[in-house]
Structures are given as C-alpha cells and as structure tokens.
C-alpha cells in the first residue's frame, strides 16, 4: 500500500478550544471515543504498523486498521476499514488522517478521508453524514464536558450502494 496513491475524498475542519494534547487524547482513547463516536471504542497501538481498531458498544469489531503515520500530538494516519464482508476487496482500503495544529488559543483539527480510487457520491454519503456529527460532538465534549446526543438514521443511501456492489452490510 502506497500512501501517495490516496486522494482526499472528504475533508472536515473544526476549531476547538483545547490543547493539541487533549485533542490527541480524545482521538486515541476508548474512554473518550465512546462518548462522541456513536458509542464506538477506539483501541490503538501508537506506533507505525500498530493495530488501530474500533469496537461497537457490544464489543464487536467495527473498524479494522493499522497505524500508518504517528506523530503525537500533530498527526495520526490510519487505515480505517469497516469490517464488513468483501468491503475492502471492492472499495480498497480507506485512509483517515487527523491533523492537529495550534490556532491561537484554539486547535484546528482536520480530518481527511482518502481512497486509492474514485468512489461514488452514494458511497461517500455515509462519511459525509457521519464525520460532521462525530467531530461536532468531540468539540462539544472537549469544550463543555458533555458530548452531543446526535440522533441520526442509518446511512441508507450508502448501505444500499454497498449492498448493490455485493458488500455485506448489517
């Protein structure tokens, strides 16, 4: 896998009244991620080649990836593959990069989802729907101590597109 083959498909930038260290902590600890990432727990071995996984609230494997770049508290790049049958064969790997930069007294967090091939708007609609909710909640959690209770229907448009490609969806 060559990281240079990947092109950004979704970019989301958000400014947070926090420190780079706290944002890094929020992105890499299960205790934090459960609160803002739809209940999912991140587990990451913070070294290049280390495992990056995310478990749903019932403990099952949801995201299965590995660490590609790790430069705390500035940059974390991981493969971010949803653990559904045939997904990686049909879509290729998904790359997620978190970039953390100081911006005055605040922090600029930029999430970039990249792919090594063009994907349809139908498939990308899931990420376009999910990332703003996740990162809005992360910001609220760090600034006010409480995450947001975002109520969201399943990403139907994406699920149908994946199903049509023969990918096993829940």
């Amino acid at each position: 896998m060559n990281i240079d083959d990947f092109k950004p498909a979704i970019v989301y930038t958000i400014y947070i009244a926090s420190t780079p260290e706290q944002v890094w902590q929020a992105l890499t600890s299960a205790e934090f991620s459960r609160k803002y990432f739809f209940g999912n727990a991140v587990e990451v071995d913070l070294r290049v080649g280390g495992a990056y996984i995310m478990r749903t609230p019932d403990g099952s494997l949801h995201i299965n990836g590995e660490v590609i770049e790790c430069d705390p508290p500035r940059k974390l790049t991981v493969t971010f593959n949803v653990n559904w049958p045939a997904l990686i064969e049909k879509l290729g790997p998904t790359l997620v990069t978190y970039q953390i930069e100081p911006a005055g007294d605040a922090v600029r967090l930029t999430m970039t989802e990249s792919h090594d091939r063009p994907l349809s708007d139908d498939i990308l609609s899931g990420g376009r729907q999910g990332w703003p909710a996740i990162l809005s909640s992360l910001k609220s959690l760090l600034e006010t101590g409480a995450p947001l209770a975002v109520k969201m229907a399943p990403p139907q448009r994406m699920l149908e597109a994946l199903k049509a490609m023969g990918i096993g969806t829940p």
């Binding site: 400014y15 009244a17 005055g104 007294d105 969201m152």
Partner: protein
C-alpha cells in the same frame, strides 16, 4: 463532474431561534466572526453586507429569509482584487431541529470557474462556524487568528 461548492455541516446544542439570531443579528455576529457585523433589513431583494471594523468586505442581496429555517444571500467579495472581479456566489443556511440539537448546513455555491473566493471561504467558514458553536454552547467564542481563516 460535480459543480464546485462548499458544504459544511455542524451540530449545535441550541434552539433554531437562537441560532437564527446568531446568524442575522450584527450584535451577535461581532462576537464570533472577527468583529464582523451582518447588515441587512432582511427583506427578500434587500442589500446584504458584511462589515468588519467599519470596512465592508462582502456584499450581496437577500434571496431567502424564512426564520428559523432558511437564510440565503448572494455573496460578492470586495477586498481581494481577483475575487472582486468574480460574479457573486450564493450562501444558504439551513437549520433543522435534531432532538435537543440543531443541525446547521451551510452551502456556498455557484462560483465562477477557478474561483479564488472558493479557496478563501473554504478556510473561513469552518473557523466562523466553530466559533459560533462555541459561543452558543459554552458562552465563549473562539479567538482564531484571522490568517487561519484565510483572512489577511
């Protein structure tokens, strides 16, 4: 090929009425938008302006004013020479209740080809709307240095 556009979604723990006021009251916008005042009588067809420290930076015309759901205006930047030559683009805010939250969707579209405005607003809106969210949720706006938001 998709038409060039900028879409930004954020969720804010507030009410549609408060968010509407934050987007349309100049006393409010000054607090989170680099001291920028929105100026308009908000009648459809009326002039719209963004005025920063007394200097108009962007002007347009009100296209839609449907409180507290939809706000739309044209957007013509005045300070940057290249941007000034471009035809006006269009800004639309959509506010949707989502439980205890409001989902805010900003769409900025209808850009000229190879627009320099698109580059500028792509840096600016995330900073402005992040600061707005902080102000409504915590009572304190963000102090983001203007260059981070693409402002010289």
């Amino acid at each position: 090929m998709r038409k060039p556009e900028f879409v930004y979604v954020t969720y804010i723990e507030t009410t549609p009425a408060k968010l509407w006021e934050a987007l349309t009251s100049s006393a409010f916008t000054r607090r989170y938008w680099w001291n920028t005042e929105v100026k308009s009588d908000w009648k459809v067809g009326s002039p719209f302006a963004l005025v920063t420290n007394g200097t108009p930076t962007d002007v347009g015309e009100v296209l839609e004013f449907d409180p507290p759901r939809r706000l739309s205006y044209t957007f013509h930047h005045l300070l940057n020479e290249a941007a000034k030559k471009e035809r006006p683009s269009r800004v639309t805010f959509v506010l949707e209740p989502a439980g205890k939250l409001v989902k805010l969707t900003l769409t900025h579209e209808d850009f000229a080809e190879d627009s320099v405005v698109l580059g500028g607003i792509s840096s600016g809106w995330p900073a402005i709307l992040s600061s707005l969210k902080s102000l409504l949720e915590s009572g304190t706006a963000l102090e983001i240095p203007p260059p981070c938001g693409g402002i010289q």
